[in-house]
Amino acid sequence: MHKIKKGALYVFLAAVSVWFVLPILWLLLTPFSKEPSLGLSLTAPTLKNFFELSHAATALAAFKNSAIISVSSVLIVVVLSSLASYALSRSNFPGKQLLITLLLIFSSVVTGVAAMVPVYALCQKLGLIDSYLAVVLVFSAGFLPTAIFILKDFIDRVPRAYEEAALVDGSRGIDLYFHIVFPLMGPGLAVVAVLCFVNIWSNFLVPFVLIRSNAKIPISVAIYQFFNEVGLPRIGLISAYSLLYALPVLLVYLWVSKKYGFGFFGGLKG
């Protein structure tokens, strides 16, 4: 009985892992396949798909566009959220708790589907349709509340003694912030940066709605163009493009995990 149970468990777990591993295998194998399809097929590896992709001008420009949009949004979010969360963590004012609760509630609204019509209307009024700025602003606004919320919690746990030591040592104002507070926030900022980068990099809806011209679309939208004349998807191109699309995200994860080990809280020794 016991053995049967155990055997059943193994079968179940094997099925689950196949379920998860298959798409990843597809992503790794199909771009190098001679006859790419939605199934898994092993052929002699070829770079044909990548070669074909290198002729798609829009697809290549999309990398640059994605980079511009993601990096500038992440920079804005990191700088502003670190300042705001530090202030929220270290100061007390009436209504602070309410403000934090509101932040949390609104955190996912701006980039959500429900807000797309008003966001579009707003951008149109501001004359920002079909500009990077529109996308960057929407993303920054959308991710700031979550970022502030995460970072505030992080800074709450950083002992004040470091800042007090720096004050006594003669540091103040912006020096104190950049020499001591900002570096101490490092691991928290890394978490926030990765979270935002991955989400913005993969977001389809916002740039799809706000950007009109092909020259400015990011990868998530560009990938939508790989169909032949009769509307059939060109699997080879899509898979090769998807692999390239996934790489930056993987690299960012690896880099952060190497630098900070995703150990969240450092704290004082002793």
Binding site: E164, A165, A166, L167, D169, R172, L184, L268, K269, G270
Partner: protein
């Protein structure tokens, strides 16, 4: 003019005055200790000097300058924190040099001073390490070094030895005092450890509930405690306290508590019938054959170099601490001699008479 002066300083947190009214002066070059149980306001006092707390009333001056409203960076003091607060993202060298770098000291001057101080504290070989890569004792030295390089108006120490193990603590105690005396910089030291306070200080301020119970040299505090609280707090072994009353008999003043009776040397301010408390340090009582107090032996605790003998006198247990070897069977008769000048007498308010 004293170096650091508190004039009627008050500090409140919320509605509660942690420090109601504190006046204090500390001399230049002095090793001054704030001693007291937790919550007595000693750390708040230190933070008031540092500027990490702002006084709600009164005036604080350092080196003849009114600093009451000045923020910490303008006060030019150096502080060693209980947990050292070494910046975790900076190397030991960067930590030590930070106060100099932030004050725009010339680079060769920084190198020179860091080199000098770090070799003096025997941490010269650690300069390239991160704080997390060195031991607690070394971290403590780095924190002291960061204070030393600054040539500050004063050193502030907030229980800097409490995170070290017992043996390191004894060593650090001597070395801190030595460094302070060599540099001649005023030091204000906060601790709840009376032995530490006694061993290191030129003067000790014993604090209780935000006020000064007594300020004086370690000898004064030990030999002439001004309050019952100070008597109980200072000393390695708890004092013997006996509550009773004064009694005039045959032209002499006696202390009486049940059958316990002892003659008091002439002290003005005691009237027959006054309720008083007698305090005697265990190390000042002698077991002697011709002693005037008779009791029965309860127990002997051997502590190696010394022993604690507990003796029952008319139902009260008196502790005697002595280095002389003494042994006797339990319940055997013992007589004690108490020198009249080691009797401390306190009135009902706990003040010394």
């Amino acid at each position: 003019m004293s170096w650091i002066v508190f004039e009627k300083v008050g500090k409140k947190f919320g509605q509660k005055w942690t420090i109601p009214d504190l006046s204090l002066s500390i001399e230049k070059g002095e090793f001054f200790t704030l001693l007291g149980p937790s919550g007595c306001g000693k750390t708040t006092t230190l933070r008031l000097i540092a500027g990490l707390e702002m006084a709600d009333q009164g005036k604080i001056s350092i080196a003849g300058k009114d600093v009451t409203r000045l923020p910490p960076p303008a006060r030019r003091i150096a502080m060693v924190f209980q947990n050292y607060a070494l910046y975790p993202h900076m190397t030991v060298f960067e930590n030590i040099s930070y106060p100099l770098r932030i004050r725009k000291t010339a680079k060769d001057e920084i190198d020179k001073r860091v080199k000098e101080s770090s070799s003096r504290l025997r941490i010269g070989h650690l300069l390239e390490r991160m704080p997390s890569q060195i031991s607690g004792g070394e971290q403590q030295r780095v924190a002291v070094c960061r204070a030393m390089v600054q040539e500050p108006n004063a050193f502030l120490f907030d229980e800097p030895l409490s995170n070290l193990d017992a043996r390191l603590r004894l060593e650090a105690r001597r070395f801190l005092r030595k460094i302070q005396k060599e540099l001649g910089i005023t030091a204000i030291y906060v601790t709840h450890d009376q032995a530490e306070a006694m061993a290191m200080s030129d003067r000790v301020a014993v604090m209780k509930e935000g006020r000064l119970a007594q300020v004086g040299s370690p000898e004064e505090i030990y030999h002439r405690p001004a309050e019952l609280f100070v008597a109980g707090f200072v000393g390695n072994f708890p004092m013997n306290f006996i509550e009773g009353e004064a009694l005039a008999k045959g032209g002499k003043m006696f202390f009486k508590s049940g059958d316990f009776e002892i003659i008091l040397s002439d002290r003005p301010g005691i009237k027959s019938g006054d309720k008083i408390t007698l305090a005697i340090r265990p190390e000042h009582i002698e077991i002697s054959e011709n002693g005037e107090l008779k009791g029965a032996l309860e127990d002997i605790e051997e502590l190696g170099s010394e022993q604690i003998v507990s003796i029952s006198i008319s139902g009260k247990t008196i502790l005697v601490r002595q280095t002389r070897k003494f042994s006797a069977a339990p319940n055997s008769k013992v007589s004690l001699k108490i020198p009249a000048d080691s009797l401390h007498i306190f009135n009902q308010e706990g003040k010394r008479i």
